[in-house]
């Protein structure tokens, strides 16, 4: 996740990534590049380090869930790089993967603050991403589902982006300031992911016979995993009552309505398929997650503590 050594991530402020670009010769490029000003995972790491951000055990577990969702999806989408149908789409999916990775880094960094190591220091995003085993991951099963063909990936994006948008939109009002801040950054990005997936659902459904068949197949492949997204449990109920989290079930109505609008425009049906048993939040995963983790974790485990 973080390509730098721990020492190097202890930067403050936002100016450090703009070296030689924003401050340099503005005529060097036709367009001007600036780093912008937004919440970064490094800022959260700094707050964790200085003790400003300290989640309760429950909030940490909740952050871990959302972080794992985003992390696994980022890894899945990253697989499309150099493999998408067109170069432009390659970059679009890569951008979405990077957005998700950013959300994962923020959530996992925050989660780590509530999950200390034996020596009392906070677990880092890398500890959580690279050194947990399959049953310790808390992502729901939709996120680990195979990319399949482009239509299947779009179907997964379609569900995920509408789910995440409703979730983050509400999470911006969390009583937990860090969760609210992460959500505020993420919701705008996920809004674009919604647009991206919607555009493609409409085009694939209204394109050729072939693309339509694939879109329908993609939706049917992903739909068994939709239910799990909206299941409440003890943790979410407790946190939702305290105002820190969003009850997953409360997102369902808006999700169903918005999804139905797009599918109607695309002249597609909401797939009528039985729901998968789920259990991702408790470490019960489909057969795919182990392979994802093997590929994602191998380098970090082969060279623990390495920086590059």
């Amino acid at each position: 996740m973080s390509p730098q050594a721990p020492e190097a991530t202890e930067t403050t402020g936002h100016g450090d990534i703009s070296t030689g670009v924003a401050g340099g010769d503005s005529n060097a490029s036709a367009t001007r590049i600036t780093p912008g000003n937004a919440l970064r995972p490094e800022d959260i790491a700094l707050e964790v380090k200085t003790g400003l951000a300290k989640p309760s055990e429950d909030v940490a577990e909740y952050a871990l869930r959302l972080g794992d969702d985003a992390l696994i999806l980022a890894q899945r989408l990253g697989h499309w790089i150099s493999r998408a149908p067109e170069l432009e789409e390659d970059i679009a999916l890569g951008n979405i993967a990077l957005d998700q990775l950013g959300h994962a880094r923020s959530f996992l960094t925050y989660a780590g603050a509530g999950m200390p190591n034996e020596d009392g220091t906070a677990k880092s995003e890398d500890d959580l991403a690279y050194f947990r085993r399959e049953h310790e991951f808390r992502s729901v099963q939709l996120f680990e589902q195979p990319n399949g063909d482009f239509a299947a990936t779009i179907a997964r994006q379609f569900v995920v982006s509408y789910y995440q948008y409703e979730l983050y939109r509400r999470l911006t009002e969390s009583t937990d300031a860090t969760l609210a801040a992460i959500a505020a950054k993420a919701v705008k990005e996920v809004d674009y992911h919604r647009d991206h997936s919607t555009q493609w659902v409409l085009r694939l459904a209204g394109g050729t016979e072939e693309s339509r068949t694939r879109m329908i197949h993609g939706l049917r492949t992903m739909w068994p995993y939709v239910n799990e997204l909206f299941q409440d449990d003890e943790l979410t109920e407790k946190l939702a009552q305290a105002g820190a989290a969003v009850a997953p079930s409360s997102l369902r109505e808006d999700f169903d309505r918005l999804i139905a609008d797009v599918l109607k425009e695309a002249e597609l049906e909401v797939p009528d398929v039985p729901a998968a048993p789920g259990g991702g939040r408790y470490g019960r995963h489909s057969e795919y997650l182990g392979y994802i983790l093997a590929e994602m974790q191998v380098l970090a485990r082969e060279h623990p503590g390495a920086s590059w």
């Binding site: 670009v21 036709a30 367009t31 001007r32 590049i33 600036t34 780093p35 912008g36 493999r83 998408a84 149908p85 067109e86 170069l87 432009e88 789409e89 970059i91 679009a92 951008n95 195979p146 990319n147 399949g148 063909d149 482009f150 239509a151 299947a152 674009y192 647009d195 991206h196 555009q199 085009r203 209204g206 394109g207 050729t208 016979e209 072939e210 693309s211 339509r212 694939r214 197949h217 057969e287 795919y288 392979y291 093997a294 590929e295």
Partner: protein
Amino acid sequence: MSPHGNPETPASSATEINREAPKASPAPEHHDRSTWGLWEVFVRSSRGLSHVHAGSLHAPDAAMALRNARDLYTRRNEGVSIWVVPADAIAASDPDSKGSFFESPQGKDYRHATYYTKSEGVKHL
């Protein structure tokens, strides 16, 4: 698609989509639908500045061209506004006629204000 023994074998690759097949509904922008058309991208970096040509891209229609432009050319916070124009809608000057087109103004100093000496007593120049 499946390196490292990854079992995810897609039914078939997305690149195998038959783009020649007849469309269920015709896309308005492009007569030749076998390939995506070329679009030129103009980005405005901030309010008050003009749009500047940033590059080009392929897209099936204007809506996707705008989105692709956003993904390709504003990844580093470059812009607040994007224009996309079908490349074939742009008429360009002929690079070979540079001499007759652009060299005529050279040496015509009198077309510049600095050529003239300021008359005495003229204010606000």
